[in-house]
Amino acid sequence: MARYAVRRILISIPLLLGVSFIAFALMNLIPGSPLTQISRNPKVKPADVARMEHAYGLDKPWPQRYLEWLERAVIHLDFGPSFYNRLPVTDRIWAALPNTLILTGSALLFSLVVSIPLGVYSAVHHRRLLDRVINIVAVALYSIPLFWLGILLIILFSVQASKWQLAWLPALPSGGIASARHGGGFVDRFKHLIMPTITLASFQIGVWTAYIRSSMLEALGQDYVRTARSKGLREVWVIYRHAFRNALLTLITLIGLAIPGLFGGALLIEYVFAWPGMGSLTIEAVSRRDYTMVQATTILFAVLTIGGNLISDLLYGLVDPRVRTS
């Protein structure tokens, strides 16, 4: 297992380098320089532009800049000064990262808690009415644009509830991570987390319910399930102890594959719910044309994805010994 783990970790290093190179190269493919817009301003003197170029290191050839940037990013975890206000990008990222992890983590948990029973139920009651309903609901869940669902939930729970005689619906905060006044307690934070979590989880619930259902169907058709049944084991025992444990294997891979989508979704959801995470940071940086910030957040999203895939691979190796030797 140790050898397998070391090998998997080593594989992710070139990936990280490649990702950082792509993000850096993209920035340098922009027509002109990032300072083009500033230098077009007639009030800005060429000398000032040259000074700014020097300050951001833009006067050096870009391969050299890449290496210098890489060195700072890897050794000092410093992604350079923001193009918008020259404050260190890293500080903002450290503040935003935990919030994104809380949101994606709770969405991951919530979608597993919902989709596992749904998928298993659906497979066990194959071709019954409720199975078909679950199937269509699952497809519907991954057809909904996430941000739209988020706005609808806000309209329903935060804005219109009283207007439409829907006062029985719980009133939920429309955005942010905690209330400004008397906020910050556990219950308050939890309330703020509910709608973003449900919205972000909805897509994964749809995808995973469908996958768990089909992998359970496959597992239920295997010989060892028939053997277990013919031994006279209770059905619940057969389903969870024999079939589900094998269906679980695909689920671990699926979680790894879902991670990029989860972060992409988080980006939209953070924007809609004003959640102060990496996604909001990215969108704010985009609107300010803050190139260093967008570059840093893109790379960090990739780092999180590679890390997530690594964990999922290691877990897979842990539960399925065949993977380690191949």
Partner: protein
């Protein structure tokens, strides 16, 4: 000697042809069972209806009497049915229904073009990697690993922010970011087909690698491509909508479903229908397309059948 070789070649190539023709029969059978699937056929009808509505945007404009770009500031944010607006008006007093058709035309066109480009790239890279093998395969697949480890949406946002593409380029960018998954799938299929006997036979008689790929491998991955296409279009419609919603996709004043949502988002507290309507159409067409895709998969690949 040459005669002997040529008879061998004819027979084997014929055998190969018969196999490919058999896959054409599979294709026809697939379409037949698709036609018998009520959910998929209903979904297909919904797709056709929405697409027809969007593609006849000019007619919709003539029927409503509104130009999609013309502002009527005295009638801004009208409700449903007010001031002659069937589905209300937006913050500039433009008719929602008319803009829905024009926006749909752009959104569907972008997604459609992007799908063709994405599948084109994915198919080529997948076939090359799968058939060539060796270092070409390793190189291409490492590239795929690399691209798959960057979450799509942040990467799309980075690229669209830097280059500010028009809507044609936007389709290309969407394709460039989303092909890696497809090429991995196609590569797997190409690998499996490559080792079939009729491919060996064709190789023995001297059919060129390009000829083998085009005549024997390509027809066999066609069903997969059709299913993939029907699942790619909705995912790209949602991607375009998301980007335009964030302001980095289709740029105003050109309407798209996404930037209509962006416009409406600012007024969701007072005019919730303006948010609801474009999003609902996106949801409806995506759902219908996914159901069509599910139906196609069930029809073409009974092993993976979900029903």
């Amino acid at each position: 000697m040459s005669v002997a070789v040529s008879t061998l070649s004819d027979r084997d190539v014929l055998a190969g042809d018969r196999l490919t023709r058999k896959s054409a029969g599979m294709f026809r059978r697939g379409m037949q069972s698709f036609r018998r699937d009520p959910v998929a056929m209903t979904a297909l009808a919904v797709v056709v209806l929405i697409a027809a509505f969007a593609l006849s945007a000019n007619l919709v404009s003539r029927w409503t009497g509104f130009n999609p770009y013309e502002n009527h500031l005295s009638h801004k944010l009208s409700g449903i049915g007010e001031n002659g607006y069937v589905l209300g008006s937006d913050a500039n007093g433009r008719d929602i229904l008319t803009r829905l058709a024009y926006g749909g035309r752009i959104s569907i066109t972008v997604a459609f073009m992007a799908t063709i480009a994405e599948l084109g790239i994915g198919l080529s890279i997948g076939l090359i990697a799968g058939y060539a093998g060796g270092w070409i395969d390793s190189f291409l697949m490492r590239l795929v690993d690399l691209l798959l480890s960057i979450p799509g949406l942040p990467l799309l946002i980075l690229i669209t922010t830097l280059f500010q593409p028009g809507w044609v380029m936007l389709a290309l960018v969407l394709a460039l970011v989303s092909w890696p998954g497809d090429s991995r799938l196609i590569r797997g299929e190409a690998l499996a087909i490559k080792n079939r006997e009729y491919v060996d036979a064709a190789r023995v008689v001297g059919v060129s690698p390009a000829g083998i790929v085009l005549r024997y491998v390509l027809p066999n991955v066609l069903p997969t491509m059709i299913v993939l296409a029907s699942l790619t279009v909705p995912s790209l419609i949602i991607a375009e909508t998301s980007l335009s919603f964030l302001g980095v996709g289709v740029q105003v004043p050109t309407p798209s479903w996404g930037n209509m949502l962006d416009d409406a988002y600012r007024f969701y507290r007072t005019n919730w229908t303006n948010v609801f309507i474009p999003g609902f159409v996106v949801f409806l067409i995506s759902l219908a397309l996914y159901l069509v895709g599910d139906g196609l998969r069930d029809a073409f690949d009974p092993r993976q059948s979900k029903r």
